[in-house]
């Protein structure tokens, strides 16, 4: 069972935030789901390997060559704020 403070902590990790009124409802639904997934503890996975990927291919690589596809201006078209060849963001170092 996790509580409202745990939810606040996870939210911070995920760069999300919930209003006080939302928090209780959210925590309740969250706990229901967590309780359900505890089901997996019934399964004996002692000597079972993990599957991270279903396809039998590994380490797909290509030559380290630049494949320049679009101009800087094209990429900056979708930027909420930009100037010259830069994305504008709030001050990172204070």
């Amino acid at each position: 069972m996790i509580n409202v403070n745990d939810v606040k902590y996870i939210a911070k990790l995920a760069r999300l935030e919930f209003g006080e009124d939302e928090l209780i409802n959210f925590t309740h639904k969250f706990n229901e789901i967590l309780k359900y997934v505890e089901k997996l503890n019934e399964v004996d996975t002692e000597n079972v390997e993990a599957t991270s990927h279903v396809v039998p291919i590994t380490n797909v690589v290509r030559k380290d060559e630049s494949l320049k596809r679009w101009s800087e201006s094209k990429i900056l078209e979708m930027a909420p704020e930009s100037n010259d060849n830069f994305f504008i963001v709030p001050k990172v170092l204070s």
Binding site: I2, V7, I10, A11, L13, A14, R15, L16, E17, F18, F26, K29, F30, E32, I33, L34, Y36, V37, E38, K39, L40, N41, E42, V43, T45, V48, E49, A50, T51, S52, H53, V54, V55, I57, V60, R62, R69, W70, K74, I75, E77, M78, A79, P80, E81, F87, V89, P90, K91, V92, S94
Partner: protein
């Protein structure tokens, strides 16, 4: 003639005989959309001008004698596929202003074949949902009953094909998202073997589970589409190199051609409590049809089935929490105005930009990957995933196909499950194992309930066995006509 009610195959025949033009076809579908989409809401963006231009180009190609099966064919594309210069929203506020600079590989393939992208279809936000109710652009309504959901997350794609607002549509399937809409809307869809279709340019939800899924009027149309969309793509490192048979050529001309196919019926998918009796009846009928066609049908077991949902909601949400970290208000998409510093910019852009279900899944994923919980949840789920996959491997060592229902119920009412996320998650109970194992599944109509709601079934096959799925599915559609029924929409779009 109502061109919008024809299949890809039929339209192609008419085009070859020069009885119609590509522009005629696109106009028919645009007309249909104008008539019905205000009540169905299958489309977020309708590309009227671009579609007509593409249709004109297709007509020019026709004049030069260049025709493919997809020339002039209007296809709906789920709004989580990037389309150059066409708004791509993922049904989310956080991308409500996003216009991509490139096409998804699959979209390029459609264009290269002369196809027409008629519009971007509605979906659950970021493809997370089973009912298409979480879209920032409003819920999609099931054309069979506008008070019910079309299934999700590719609800827009499913509803568009069902209501003849597109001949075919492309969706994505991570836990059942093209198969559930097929079942609820009486259309046919395929979740291909993982890696068959390039995911490049398709907004990622859960990268080890996502797969492109075509949705169409019948198996024959899917066999056609698959020829064009399957294939290795160097831009997708999870894409596989494998032969692509001529699926259309290989379809049986008579149902008896699939005689001798061995079909397994897993007992774990056929419990009495919790499955609609009409669904059980339809599956029983389908089983009889396969027996009549000369197939050997017997019971099998997939013992880890009951753990699939829990496994999925740990793995998928973990991957999603990572994939959705990029939506931060910095380089594209929605940026909040409420911020005094960088931390607030991230927090508020995401808080204001994402819907409730997306936030829930990001939170779940973050939690199961966090320090102290990774082994208990994520690592554990990955091991159970292996066991689920091995269940299928074992059955497919002696069986050609597995037959299961797509959903325990017919389409549920709008609003019925939105306040109970766990109940909503359990809608995927019959579709989800397939994504965990990476195997292909063909979803097709197999009956109607007493209240005239569509019922669907799935044929599952081993890795790369789409040819067998199409053969068996097409044979079933030669022997039955469920897939030919259209929803009772009258001119105004109200239920007839």
């Amino acid at each position: 003639m109502e061109l919008c009610k024809k299949t890809i195959y039929e339209l192609n025949e008419l085009l070859k005989r020069r009885e119609i033009s590509c522009v005629d076809i696109t106009k028919s579908f645009l007309e249909r959309i104008k008539e019905h989409d205000s009540s169905i809401n299958a489309y977020i963006t309708v590309c009227e001008e671009k579609a007509l231009l593409q249709a004109k180009e297709a007509d020019n190609k026709l004049k030069e004698g260049k025709i493919t099966h997809l020339t002039g064919i209007p296809i709906g594309v789920k709004d989580n596929y990037l389309t150059r210069d066409i708004l791509t929203t993922c049904a989310s506020k956080i991308l409500s202003n996003y216009v991509p600079p490139y096409n998804a590989t699959v979209v390029d393939k459609i264009f290269d074949a002369g196809g027409v992208v008629i519009g971007k279809t509605n979906l659950d936000e970021f493809a997370m949902g089973s009912s298409n109710e979480s879209s920032y652009y409003g819920a999609v309504k099931n054309p069979w009953d506008l008070a019910r959901t079309p299934g999700g997350s590719s609800g827009g794609s499913g509803a568009a094909v069902a209501s003849c607002e597109a001949v075919a549509a492309l969706g994505t399937d991570t836990g059942g998202s093209v198969r559930l809409p097929a079942s609820f809307c009486n259309v046919t869809s395929l979740k291909p073997t993982y890696g068959r279709v390039s995911r490049f340019g398709i907004v990622a939800y859960a990268s080890s589970l996502d797969q492109v899924g075509p949705i169409g009027r019948d198996v024959r149309d899917l066999a056609i589409l698959s020829k064009y969309i399957f294939g290795y793509d160097p831009l997708d490192s999870t894409s596989i190199r494998a032969d692509i048979p001529d699926y259309l050529e290989n379809l049986p001309k008579d149902p008896s051609e699939i005689k001798g196919m061995k079909i397994g019926i897993p007992k774990e998918y056929f419990f009495k409590d919790g499955i609609d009796p009409d669904v059980l009846d339809s599956l029983s009928f389908a089983r009889d049809i396969f027996v009549d066609m000369g197939c050997e049908v017997s019971d099998v077991s997939l013992p880890h089935t009951e753990y699939a949902i829990a496994t999925y909601y740990i793995i998928a949400t973990a991957e999603a929490s990572s994939n959705l970290a990029r939506y931060d208000g910095i380089r594209f998409g929605y940026r909040t105005e409420n911020h005094d510093d960088l931390a607030e910019l991230y927090m508020n852009s995401r808080k204001e930009g994402f819907g409730e279900e997306v936030k829930r899944r990001i939170m779940l994923g973050t939690y199961v990957l966090s320090a102290g919980y990774y082994d208990a949840y994520y690592a554990k789920a990955q091991r159970v995933r292996t066991l689920i996959k091995e269940d299928f491997d074992r059955v497919f060592s002696t069986y050609d196909l597995i037959l299961v229902p797509t959903s325990p119920t017919t389409a549920f009412k709008l609003g019925e499950r939105v306040d109970d996320p766990l109940k909503m998650y359990l809608s995927d109970i019959f579709t989800i194992s397939v994504n965990l194992a990476g195997i292909p599944s063909l979803a097709l109509p197999c009956g109607f309930s007493k209240s005239n709601l569509p019922i669907g079934m799935q044929l599952l096959g081993s890795y790369l066995s789409e040819a067998k799925l199409f053969q068996a599915g097409h044979a079933f559609q030669l022997a039955t006509d469920f897939h030919k029924y259209l929803p009772p929409l009258n001119k105004k779009g109200d239920k007839g």
